[in-house]
Each structure stands twice: as C-alpha cells, then as structure tokens.
Symmetry: C2
Subunit: 444 residues, 2 copies
C-alpha cells in the first residue's frame, strides 16, 4: 500500500504537520497502552496475530462444507455484521457474481423491507442453501426477523435436523439468545469477541466465514492485515501512514473541510467505501462534530456529484483508493471510419485511459481547491484487502482520539431504536410507549 499526500501539500503545510504531530503520537500511544477512551474494545489491534487458530481452521472447514452442500449462502446481519463481508466479496468477485460464482451470496437482515426479503426468499427457496446468522445478542430486530423467516424455510425444506446442520451462528461466546438457541439446536457456532466492536470485526468469524464461503482466501487476507499491523506499529510518524493520514484529516477538518469523499475508479471497490462509511461515521461522528464520510465511483460520478466537487461549496476533500493493475485489460482498437474520433486512443489500453482520467481529475479538483489523498494497492487480492482493512481501522482510531472523541462507541445508534421499540410497544418500554404516543397526539 502506498500513501500519497502530494496533493494535500498546497492545503496543509509542513508547519501544520509539525504542529499536530505530537498529538497524533500521543493518540497512537494511547492505543498501544490501551489506556484511553474505549480501551475495552481494542481487540482488533492484535487480531491478525492473536486470532484463535482453532476457530480459524473451523471457519475454513465450514466454508468448504457450505460450498459443497449449497448453491447459495444467506448471510444474516446488519452494520458491522454485514459490511465487511460484503465489501470483501464485491471486491474479489466479478460484477454480478451471483450470476457466475459457484456459491451465490445474499445478504438479508440488513433492512426491514418486505419487498427485499421476499425477493431474496424467492431467489433461494428452490436452491440448496445454507444460512450464516451473525448477531452478538441474537435480538437485534432486523437480523432476528430475517432469521425467523429463513430458519423456517430451511426447516420446511430439509427437516429440523438437516436444517440445523445448514445453519452457522456467529454470536457471543457464552450468552445471549442466539447462543442459547444454537446450543439447543446444535448449530455450529463462531465467536463475536467481546473486545471487538462491530465495525472492527471483519477479521473475526463475523467477516471471515461468509468471505471464505464465497471462495476467497482468508489466510492471505489475515497475512495482509498482519503486515499492516507490523508496518503501522512504527513509531516514526513520517514512516507511519496511519499517523500521517490521521494528521492530515484532522488538519483539513479544522479548516472547514467537513466532507470526506472516498473515491474509486473501479466499481468493485464501492462496498469498501460502504464499509469505510460505517467505520468513519460511527467512530468520529459524535459530540456534534466529525467529518461526514461519503463515497463516489469515478468516472461514473464525475457525471453526477462531479460538478459539486469541482465548483460547489469548498467543504470537501477526497481520499482515493486506487488499484495499480487490472485483472483484465482491454486494448482499444482502431476503427477505419473513426467517426467517434477515438482513434487517437487506438492501441492504448483502457486501464491506461482510466489512469489518465484519474490523473486529470486529481489535477482539476486540486485546482478547484479540493485536497486529494491517494491510497493505492498494486492489485485486487486478499492480501491487499487485509492490509487496507487494518490500515483504515488503525487510522480512524488515531484520528478519533486526536479529535477528542471515543472512536469505539456509537451511542447515537440507540436513539432511534428506543423510539422504535416504544412505538412497537415492546415489553419493558411501557413508559416510553405512553410518552411517544402522547407526543405524536400533541403534534397532531
């Protein structure tokens, strides 16, 4: 991975870097010392080294079993129990992979749309399929509802015993609804560790089982993450990309750049951006502050939000994630008539054209006062993905500390749930139910 901050230099001078550096170093040390806000949730830091080897082997075995027995895998989870696996699968497999991959992977429990659930239900009901349900408590509304539906379908299709052998539960080690049910029904279980928050859990069984079941090499994924762990333990600020990135982001934020766009030039990276949006928004968007994370896929979105990036309000910076080498390149052929005027590109590869587009965009955006950071990997593979996952986790942890927040909690996620349970008259919410209906009546 290469971290390139060249196109931030006209916005962030050396003096500013020197001025923030000691604070970034303090933040980095807080992580090492496990001494500061949220320090109960630092398990992700050592995962690539200290993960449970026995469980890791079981994940690979379960993945093989799923691939042998099933044409489809239904993954049930939301937030951190969804985005990491989907990011990895969309990155590694071709576009529309469910039309070509030997195991189709569908994600449910990510929303409460009956249209969506019905569509997926109809897609899998006549195929051999397995389920990986991922929930620490087993009571999170969206995945719990989806699990009731797909568990019943499995039981109707295969009988209770075979259904149980097709259900894999990733949940709390000891307690909770899903753990209790799994023990009773003899589902194979995998662990959501206590000291790893949802958005940092892609390198636990939460992410690893669906990723492996899709046919992706999780050994390489962990190796890449471990190399990032080693590289980013470097205490020299100027040799530590996570520290540099955290520094630049905070400097830009303090001067009014409060929107960060994660940009790619390769649509397979779009769900990495979705994973990043959760990682950054939940870690930093609190206490009435924080950069708002969003994403764009170029050149597509140059014909959408591109206009606003180039000439809109100057509250934006971009972080490009790019891949140096493509899987399949295409050479642009000569056309005798050349009516479209493209013959100046004949003999050039499409990847080359895409790279020149990127270069042209960076220069145009920088000229438009939009700072650009570029993070590049040499190719699409598991090792580089593991590296990226760990890099961004470490960077956001440091960055959050520098901005004075606990990067490991997400108190705001509870607010809507409380209202929702009150409106749904959940037992235990009687007082809230009364209040919320009074409020709605008063509002008219």
């Amino acid at each position: 991975m290469i971290f390139n901050d060249k196109y931030t230099k006209q916005f962030v001078n050396k003096k500013e870097i020197e001025a923030i550096k000691p604070f970034v170093e303090v933040a980095d040390k807080m992580l090492d010392d496990k001494s500061f806000l949220g320090s109960d949730f630092l398990g992700w830091m050592d995962l690539p080294k200290d993960y449970d080897k026995e469980e890791f082997e079981r994940i690979k075995k379960a993945a093989l079993k799923i691939r042998k027995e099933s044409k489809a895998l239904v993954v049930i989870g939301i937030g951190g129990s969804y985005l990491g696996a989907r990011a990895a699968i969309e990155f590694m497999l071709p576009t529309y992979y469910n039309q070509t991959n030997d195991v189709e992977v569908y994600f449910v429990g990510t929303n409460m749309s009956p249209n969506y659930i019905t569509d997926i239900y109809n897609l899998v009901k006549d195929k051999d399929f397995s389920v990986n349900v991922i929930s620490k408590s087993g009571t999170t509304t969206e995945p719990a509802i989806a699990f009731r539906i797909f568990k019943k379908l499995l039981e109707e299709k295969y009988g209770e015993k075979e259904a149980a052998s097709r259900i894999y539960a990733t949940t709390d080690k000891k307690k909770g609804a899903l753990k209790t049910l799994s023990d009773k029904k003899a589902y194979e279980t995998f662990v959501v560790p206590d000291n790893v928050g949802g958005r940092f859990s892609v390198l636990t069984a939460v992410g690893l089982l669906p990723i492996a079941a899709a046919g992706i090499n999780i050994d390489d994924l962990m190796n890449g993450a471990n190399q990032a762990r080693i590289d980013l333990s470097n205490k020299n600020f100027f040799e530590n990309d996570a520290m540099k990135y955290a520094a630049i982001r905070n400097i830009l934020y303090r001067k009014g750049k409060d929107i960060e766009i994660f940009v790619n030039y390769e649509p397979r990276l779009q769900f990495i951006a979705e994973w990043l949006k959760q990682l950054f928004a939940e870690s930093e968007g609190k206490d009435l502050k924080g950069i708002f994370p969003t994403s764009a896929s170029f050149s597509t979105d140059l014909h959408s939000i591109g206009q606003a990036i180039q000439e809109g309000k100057r509250n934006i910076f971009e972080t490009i994630i790019s891949v140096d080498n493509v899987i399949n390149d295409i050479v642009i052929e000569k056309d005798e008539e050349d009516l479209d005027g493209l013959n100046f590109l004949a003999g050039k590869s499409l990847d080359y054209v895409n790279k020149m587009a990127k270069k042209g965009v960076v220069l145009a955006h920088v000229d438009g006062n939009v700072p650009n950071i570029e993070i590049s990997i040499d190719k699409i593979n598991e090792y580089n993905l593991g590296y990226l996952f760990y890099f961004f986790e470490k960077a956001v942890a440091i960055s959050g500390y520098v901005n004075g927040v606990n990067p490991f909690d997400q108190p705001g996620v509870e607010a809507y749930k409380k209202n929702m349970f009150a409106l749904l008259e959940k037992p235990g919410y009687e007082e809230e139910t009364k209040k919320i209906f009074e409020r709605i009546d008063n509002e008219g």
Copy 2:
C-alpha cells in the same frame, strides 16, 4: 405524492417562509417566462404534454422488438444517459432483476474499468442481446469506448446487417458522430432534444427506451409526470410542493445545513437517490456554493452513517422518499420458544415494523436537530415514479434560481475532461498536453 414539512417546523418558522416566498415566486415565474439563466434548456418542462407522439410509439415498438429478439439489453450511456433509466428499472423490478426478469439489462459506458466491462462482456456474449447506445455527440469517451467494444461483439456474432438491426441509437436529431454512423449503418435512431439537459432527460427517448425494454409501462410514467406538471403549475405557493420544497431547502442552507441526505426505507429506491444526486449536484453545486447531496438506505445505514446523522456535526438535513404500500408484505410469526424476544411483534407485518422504525428515526433525528422532510407516494408504480421525476426537476430548477445560480449548466464537468484529453494527447490539445506534462514534471 404527499409533501410533509411537519418535521422542519421547529427549524424553519412561518416568518422565514413568508420572507422567502416572494423570491420563490419570482423564480417560478422565471421558469414560466423562459426568461432567465439557462432558458434554452427548459424543454423538460413541457415534455409530459408535448413529447413527440410518433417517436413515443416507435419507442414502444422498438422495446417490443428488443424483448422478442433478445435475452439481454446492453445500455451504453453515462450521467443523464444512464441514471434515469437505471433508477426506473431498479425501482420497478425485483432485487437482482437480472436473475429473474425476461430481459436482462446491463449498463456500460458508465466507467472506464476494464474489469467491469469484461465482466459484462462475459455475461452477454453467449446470449442474444441488443444495444441501446445513448450519446448526444457520440464522442463522449466512456460510452464511445464501450460502444466500439459491444458493436464489434454484435457484428462478430450476427454479421454486420443483423447487428445493425439490434443497435438502437439515441442521439442528436441531425448532427454528430453517432447520428452520422447511425444513418450510414441504418440503425434505428431516437432523439436527445436540444433543449433538454442530460439530467432532465429521463422522460425523453434517453430514459424511455431502456425503461420500456425492461417491460415497464411508459404511458403510465408519462401520465404521472403530466399530473405533476399540472399540479406544480399552481401559482399558490402554499399549494405548490415544488415551491415549498425549494423554499425550505434554501432556508436550511442559509443557516448552515449544507448536506442533504436523500433517505429511503426501501432499497429499490437507491438508484432514484443516485439520479437525485446528479440532478441536485449538477444543478446547484456551482459558484462555490450549494447543498451537497448524498443518500442513505435505512435501516441499513442507521448502522453506518446513522451515528453521524444523530450526533455528528449539525450541518445535515434529510429528505425522505417513502412508499406507503409494499408489494409483498410478510407477517411475523409467533415462535414457541421466543428466545430472540420477538414475539411482541407476532401477527404484525414487517411493513408495519418498518414504518414504526421510520417514525422512530424521524423523531430521534429531529430531537438531534436534523430537520426532516418527507415525500411519500402510495405505492411502487410507474405513475408515481413519473410524478417524482417531474416534481424533483421542477423543485431543483426553482431552488437553483433562488440560490442565484443557473440550474441548467454544468461547467465544472469539463475541467477533468480537458486535463484527461491533454494527458491522452488528443489531437487539438497539443498546447494543453505540453503544459500538463511540464506541470507534472515540475511537481516531481
């Protein structure tokens, strides 16, 4: 369509509405008079009434021919020649429609990723397919490259004559590379009108042909748009939702709400949000100002950017697009064991739970000082979609005028293209090529 501004009232008082109302009325009149900035591009205003009936019938005939002859349609276009059709298709068809619909629809020419193009190439090459290439000039880089590739595939597969009968070109009425080629090869052609900008073109052949080819009723779509045209010609501000929406957005923007999140609770609406992002970013993001448009699909993204919306920097407002009735509802069943604690929902429908989630979220976000606007339609159908398309077009036109910009140009989209052509040494860019390489050399 119902426009609900109840949850903006604690942020925008009546006096503020009265104070901006005359200016909104002036903006609305500028549109009617076709007298102000960008008035050459107001063709979209009368489209639902004045569209070319002969061409409309030809679109329906061509769509039937495509559906009869082809298992797949490759749509080639970028920006406004892409997003409207995709928004309509994703809204009307089931999730993963290419696995179930009688005609698969693939979009290319939207990017320059050789990985992506190769994936789509492999998906269609062994199927009977047709191509709809959409480009006013025929020389826009992304679609022109994609068209060379898929035209060649068609010609190799079917021979030049049958290939020509499978190519439908939506382009300039009289001139340009694609028009010239089409006349020469006898492709059937459809018109991109001169007085309709790309992002306003969904109700021309640009959007209508791929939409109809996917099996969607374009008569109903136009009828819905025409009803919106009639409703939104109402000169009474308080009865005109486009005027009210334009007023509220501008008031919020002036008090620091510079991010608008287009929210849905139904994943089929996600590409409507993509269409909206282009419509709003290109129309308003200019002259160093404008609201930055982005999107979220709930409840999924409540577990992603939800934290930042609830408790991050207070520069956000939300515009919800909701659908009152679902296509397929699901009743949550009772479970004897109730380990997941969901039995309090037994007998309730999932749609009801989703609606209570929405209600709970709105109250939580408003309590967190995030204004909420809700735009709702009664169900997923073509009529309502046509209404929404026209509503948002009219609203952004008024809103842009109120904020003092030309909502119909997009000068910033050219900046990167100029650099890209210089880097690619396009004939005619010799001077720019020299300069840009000198610049890169100097930057080191």
